[in-house]
């Protein structure tokens, strides 16, 4: 696993799941996807979400979802920054540690 990853918090995972389900339902209601696609997306999510343990994995999953079903791009856009900010925070923290230990200037 990427050493820069932050462990995904359960609350954030649930929030994003809610956002995804809502996103799918909105798309279905707006006839942007069919019920068959809804089933495909849901199955894909259920199969892949279970393996997600880190923020970076979730970001990858959202990217992959966006690639497969563009209607899910909105959820990706909403949470990309949040997940990236978490990642940046972690990188900064590690850098600060290294500086403190005198390993880098």
């Amino acid at each position: 696993m990427d050493s820069n990853s932050t462990l995904l918090e359960e609350s954030l995972k649930k929030e994003i799941q809610t956002a995804l389900v809502t996103n799918i339902l909105n798309a279905l209601e707006a006839n942007k996807i069919t019920v068959v696609e809804m089933k495909e997306i849901s199955n894909y999510l259920l199969d892949n979400m279970v393996q997600v343990k880190y923020n970076s994995q979730l970001l990858e999953l959202l990217e992959s979802l966006k690639g497969k079903w563009p209607v899910l791009e909105d959820t990706y856009k909403i949470y990309k920054n949040k997940l990236l900010v978490e990642k940046e925070k972690l990188v900064m923290q590690r850098l600060a540690n290294l500086v403190r230990k005198g390993k880098i200037n």
Binding site: K14, Q17, T18, L20, V21, T22, N23, I24, L25, N26, A27, L28, E29, A30, N31, T34, V35, V36, M38, K39, I41, S42, N43, L45, L46, M49, D74, K77, I78, N81, K82, V85
Partner: protein
């Protein structure tokens, strides 16, 4: 900054997601899933993926939509650019209403079982069907009732009336019903019948409607050729054949009812005609006597007595003749009707071929999704109505034969093993007895020398290179 962008995107999402006309059944599902998405998004996803069953009322709507083509409630919806407005629900034909009711009842029973553990005869029937289709379970059940033949003979009765299931079988059925595995199987049944992903986009297509009309025609033609169903051509033909057989001899060579009646009437007719001939002769004699003055008086009296008898005989002859004519006419009519019906059956057979070909042609024009849907609906109907269908019984019987054959093979193998085992046991016993007898006579060291070698018995020649077992002929 990031927060501002998120809010902008969120607003745009909300605007784009404004409904523009959704299928009301899908709308009902969406309404149910929205709060679920917040409280338990994973469960919502499982329902959306078809892995969990939706709530009962949503299931009802989906069944309602899946049964029949377009005769559902009125909606003004446009799905993918296609107007899916449907006719009023009352436009449903009777067979569809029946199908819908059956499906709803069936699914309700499964929900009752899943939610509250209610076990209906229908659920028991489901279990019985699953058990019978499983060779292992079927063997167990066969042992309970004393053989496969008995089980096969009684099974349709058990399925028709689960109240008649013997206690030992009932306990097996109950055990299985309560098991988690069967609960899953029942859930699968609901999922199969309530496929929320069944599309309705092309439901109103002309091609689809034509296919359904053809399918109904083919079903009706098939029904007419089925003598097991009431009010069909085949059934009428069977009944007429049964009536015609009354004009024939039975297996023992005796006339059957109608033929007997004709024969009896003809016999009486012959007798009456004979009697009439006798009276005719008498009348002629008496008429001649009229010309002789001496015999005129008695002849007149005799003639007066003969005439009513003649008249009575004429009546009897007419009556019997009428009986014969009526019976013969009936036979002729039956034969004519039989010829007509046979011709009709031949025509139906030809027509079925033509319609089936036409139907196959229409089906190939359906898109893959439509074709699949049609198949699903057909299997849905088959599941509902075909529990006791001949086809099911036939396929069960075919499977039973296969299993019986495998069972026979296993039995032969097992018998061979048992035979070998017995042979071994017998050899051991003989060997023990043989050496027991030797021990009484010889020293043990001498006996050890004899083991596996040549045997010397007084009065007999030693047989080179043979073992004790071979010599004991076992």
């Amino acid at each position: 900054m990031a927060e501002q962008i998120d809010a902008t995107v969120a607003r745009r999402v909300a605007v784009e997601a404004t409904p523009v006309g959704t299928d009301p059944v899908v709308g009902q599902l969406i309404t149910y899933l929205r709060p679920k998405a917040v409280s338990n998004p994973e469960e919502a996803m499982r329902i959306m993926a078809g892995r969990d069953v939706p709530p009962r009322e949503v299931a009802h709507s989906f069944i309602d939509r899946q049964v029949g083509p377009n005769e559902l409630k009125t909606v003004n919806a446009v799905v993918n650019g296609v107007n899916v407005a449907r006719k009023d629900r009352t436009a449903r034909p009777a067979f569809e209403t029946q199908m819908l009711n059956d499906a709803t009842t069936r699914v309700d029973q499964v929900y009752d079982f899943l939610e509250r553990g209610v076990i209906t005869p229908q659920i028991q029937r489901e279990v019985l069907r699953v058990l019978y289709n499983d060779p292992g379970y079927r063997r167990i059940l066969a042992e309970q009732v004393g053989g496969l033949n008995i089980l096969t003979a009684n099974y349709p009765g058990y399925m028709a009336n689960p109240g008649t299931i013997p206690a030992n079988i009932r306990s097996i059925v109950d055990e299985i019903i309560q098991g988690p595995e069967y609960k899953l199987k029942l859930e699968d049944l609901v999922k199969k019948h309530i496929d929320i992903t069944k599309p309705i986009e092309d439901k109103g297509s002309e091609n689809r409607q034509k296919t359904e009309v053809l399918q109904r025609e083919v079903d009706e033609i098939k029904k007419q050729q089925d003598a097991k169903q009431a009010n069909t051509v085949a059934k009428e033909l069977e009944e007429i054949d049964a009536l015609i057989s009354l004009y024939k001899l039975d297996n023992a060579g005796n006339p059957r009812a109608r033929l007997q009646a004709i024969q009896d009437a003809n016999k009486l007719l012959g007798q009456y005609k004979g009697d009439k001939a006798v009276l005719d002769a008498e009348l002629a004699g008496e008429s001649a006597a009229l010309s002789v003055p001496a015999t005129r008086g008695p002849a007149q009296l005799r003639i007066a007595a003969i005439r009513p008898l003649m008249s009575n005989l004429d009546k009897q002859i007419t009556e019997q003749q009428n009986i014969v004519t009526a019976l013969e006419n009936e036979l002729k009519e039956l034969q004519t009707r039989r010829t007509t019906l046979r011709t009709k059956l031949d025509e139906l057979k030809d027509k079925e071929g033509t319609k089936q070909a036409e139907l196959a042609g229409e089906k190939t024009k359906l898109g893959p999704m439509e074709g699949e849907k049609l198949l699903k609906e057909q299997s849905f109907v088959d599941n509902i109505t075909g529990m006791f269908a001949d086809a099911t019984i036939d396929s069960l019987n075919a499977r039973l034969t296969q299993i019986n054959n495998s069972y026979d093979q296993l039995l032969t193998k097992r018998r061979q093993t048992e035979k070998d085992e017995l042979k071994r046991e017998f050899t051991e016993q003989v060997r023990e007895r043989y050496f027991g007898a030797l021990r009484q006579v010889f020293h043990p060291s001498l006996i050890r020398g004899l083991r596996g070698g040549n045997i010397f018995v007084e009065g007999e020649r030693p047989i080179e290179g043979r073992t004790i077992e071979e010599d004991m002929n076992v």
